[in-house]
Subunit: 505 residues, 2 copies
């Protein structure tokens, strides 16, 4: 490698490090806002976030950055390590995405999303989709325009997907989702018709918040979450945030009469948190170490929440601790009935409350509607009717109101089209990864029964967390599982598990 390119790379790294630190600060501002900020500070906080976003944007599109990124790719790729080349590639992508859009469109999108959010909140509260329709239509139009600038060679919806799930297109997703539909719709119907209802009575009762917190913290720690490099707090909606791999902050929420929701939120967010804490040591302030895509992030949270914590070995291991924590409720509860109780499957209107069998239907429904909105085959006005028809077809239920239907999610109001598929891709990857783990370590279930969860964390760490963005998703999946994105494991897992629970055929 010529010396000049080496120096350019160092200058690039210095800029990327600075941006990473400013990004970390943004993480603290958001966490603080959701967890701890006095309510009277919301306006000043919005202005602080706006000021920092402006600074970061200036840094990302800085002319000097442009010059470095113009010069560096002229070097032979082979003159750089893979690690170095990855940072150059990531910086280029971020620079392109930020500079290709005209400033007027950036401003219009920012203003519209902010207004659309308020309009949506009101429309949802009042069950009036017609109030939301005009801004939603405008948002779709702007996001089609946005796609034309950012990724002109892609279809508009693919460009929006690429924003969250780079390298994955409708061509990858549609056949996978069609297969899920073909197999899950009958499964959901069979479960419904089985007439079997697991006993969940012991999950109702009074569960003191301090005991819920101690339980969640214990299990999070068992999973390998490092509390000297992270925190666990309370927020309205559980999330994983923070400012750095040494400062990862998960949240949950507590209801006195339901500990399961809080506990599984802790496990889910810990899954995200382990990914962040496990990033490669020597690139922590550089894009190369960042989480790969939204679906891979989600694969980590769902891996722990579903593949591990909704499994038999986990129920066997943790029922005694749970029974110790809430002695009044768990007299005479067997591991098997606990396992069944945390795996109830039942169609419901609200995506975020859905179980692992019905959840993909919620996602596929949204994917199909977004696809239609972007290719012009669906009009915004038609969404409520189509939503309800698909709910009927996929889950056998029809929302009585749009509040419980097309108006339920916040995503569209923020212009986040193309995000939903990541949830289900994440679930599929999670089951593929779990399968690979079982192949690699056949005693995994025994380890879980022994409470040795951190060894699983270590495996995920080496295979996924420490890989950062060194590999594309397909290459990573190939390396971990030997295969490609494939819903078969996920379907086999769901069919075997739920046929057994619901006593089907």
């Amino acid at each position: 490698m010529k010396e000049g390119f080496k120096e350019d790379y160092f200058l690039l790294v210095r800029r990327l490090r600075e941006n990473s630190r400013l990004g970390g600060i943004m993480g603290i501002l958001h966490w603080d806002q959701e967890v701890i900020m006095p309510e009277g500070a919301s306006e000043s906080r919005a202005q602080q976030i706006g000021a920092l976003a402006g600074v970061l944007h200036e840094k990302i599109i800085h002319p000097e950055m442009g010059k470095l990124l113009d010069r560096l790719p002229m070097a032979d790729e082979n003159g750089f390590t893979h690690f170095e080349w990855c940072n150059i590639r990531e910086a280029r992508r971020e620079f392109n995405m930020a500079t290709r859009i005209p400033k007027t469109l950036v401003t219009e999108l920012a203003e519209l999303s902010s207004r659309a959010h308020q309009v949506w909140v009101k429309a949802r509260a009042e069950n009036k989709f017609s109030d939301f329709a005009p801004v939603l239509k405008r948002l779709v139009d702007l996001k089609i325009k946005w796609a034309g600038y950012v990724f002109p060679q892609m279809q508009a919806y693919d460009a929006n997907i690429d924003n969250y799930e780079r390298g994955t297109t409708q061509n990858d997703i549609t056949p996978v989702f069609d297969k899920l539909k073909a197999e899950l719709i009958p499964l959901i119907k069979s479960i419904k018709e089985s007439g079997y209802h697991p006993d969940t009575s012991f999950l109702s009762g009074q569960f003191p918040v301090d005991k819920q917190e101690a339980l969640g913290r214990q299990i999070s720690e068992d999973m390998g979450f490092q509390f000297d490099k992270g925190r666990m707090d309370v927020s309205v909606h559980p999330f994983c945030g923070g400012s750095h791999p040494t400062d990862v902050r998960i949240t949950t929420r507590y209801q006195k009469d339901n500990f399961i929701e809080s506990l599984y939120a802790v496990i889910h967010e810990t899954g995200h948190g382990l990914y962040e804490q496990g990033r490669m040591q020597n690139g922590r302030d550089l894009p190369v170490s960042e989480a790969l895509t939204m679906a891979i992030h989600e694969s980590q949270s769902l891996f722990w929440e579903r593949m591990i914590a909704q499994g038999r070995p986990f129920c066997l291991r943790y029922l005694p601790l749970i029974a110790d924590t809430f002695p009044n409720n768990f007299k005479n509860v067997t591991p098997e009935s606990f396992y069944e109780a945390v795996n109830v499957s039942q169609p419901s209107f609200i995506r975020v409350q859905a179980d692992e069998v019905t959840y993909p239907m919620h996602v596929i429904l949204r994917y199909e509607l977004e696809k239609g909105l972007f290719d012009g085959t669906i009009r915004v006005e038609d969404l409520p009717g189509m939503w309800n028809a698909k709910m009927k077809e996929y889950l056998g239920i029809e929302p009585p109101t749009d509040t419980l239907g097309v108006l339920q999610d916040t995503h569209w109001s923020g212009g986040a089209f193309g995000y939903f598929p990541s949830y289900t891709l994440g679930a599929i990857y999670a089951s593929q990864f779990y399968n690979a783990l079982i192949q690699a370590k056949p005693d995994t279930e025994k380890q879980i029964e022994a409470g040795n969860l951190a060894s699983i964390r270590d495996w995920l760490g080496v295979k996924i967390h420490q890989q950062g963005r060194l590999l594309s998703v397909p290459v990573l999946v190939k390396q971990v599982t030997g295969g490609i994105l494939n819903p078969d494991h996920f379907l086999d897992y769901l069919k075997n598990k739920y046929r057994q629970i619901y006593r089907l055929n």
Copy 2:
């Protein structure tokens, strides 16, 4: 005013607002670090703070800022409102202070203070002043150099004082401190020789932390602290921080066997917090609304801690609440004995533990040593000996180690020379302000007995908090009290109070 100047002013305001928001973010980073950050994040946080400080510095010295500040003063001052002119003046001062120092000196000072802090921590722990002496000497040299660049027309020590207490010089401070010495040294001696020791036995015992917290929160709220625009938390050293007048965060610390220290820390920090929450509404993101000087800030905390909360009416009002909170300890305690117990005066080695009579001696000692270091009459090697001699002369006690003497404060290790006088200037202003309040509202003591503390907050708000930086310190003090900086009220207050408590003459 010519139109061009108006436009320049708007451009300046836009820059100042942005800087204010970035400064608020810095406040959150520091608060988070002291209160809530996982310990493993200290290195990444230092880097985040460094990155943001770099951004802020770039903004402050931005060439466009320089151009605006060169053009604006050419406008007739009368063409601007006082409010506007104040923002221009403050921006100019900040720009000058940031641009007049060569970058090499900035870097050397930053690196040296960082290293000096570590050296000091170790030297203090090991009681080895000789280890600290070389870096301290270098720090003084650099701060003399710094003064020559920033305020070339001032004496070097005056320039350092001006950094915290603008407009106040040794010429103002020395005669005031000499007067304090002349009157307080004999008072301290008389107290010691009185042989009287107020009963403080009821302040020892076990005080549950949750009850301490509830008590502190109640009193802070009575004082007028708005918890919807602020928080109260725990940190190693109590402080007042936050990010904005709508986001003011005070801290305290709790010891199970001592509630008084925590309670008075809450009151002290609430005093600072009320100043911040009370800033003028229409200039909150501009320098015009910021706290005037360190001494005026300290006058607000000491006003509440000493003039109010160590006074008889407060003791009368709050003893019942305290006795309700800690029923075992406060059986048969009279308001008078509670009042005496919170006003014990006794020479001690450590400044931060000193009472209001002996505290000024700690400050004067440091002031005289700093003065000598900067005018060359004192050598760093002579500090321990001179420290101990002055302790003997002013307080009648001699520190057995340098850890309990010359090595106790963090200030010098950070290069913060000229800061100490603000503490005692603040105490003097506090007593002058209290006197003015009594003149303006003769029923103040009755209001305190009735628990109507917020009316005092309102008076301070109008007279001081909302004034921001519109007036200089002398003009503000004149406007509030009718006089100038004058230690007489402070001395009368101390003499009357402590002669009565200690049964003197």
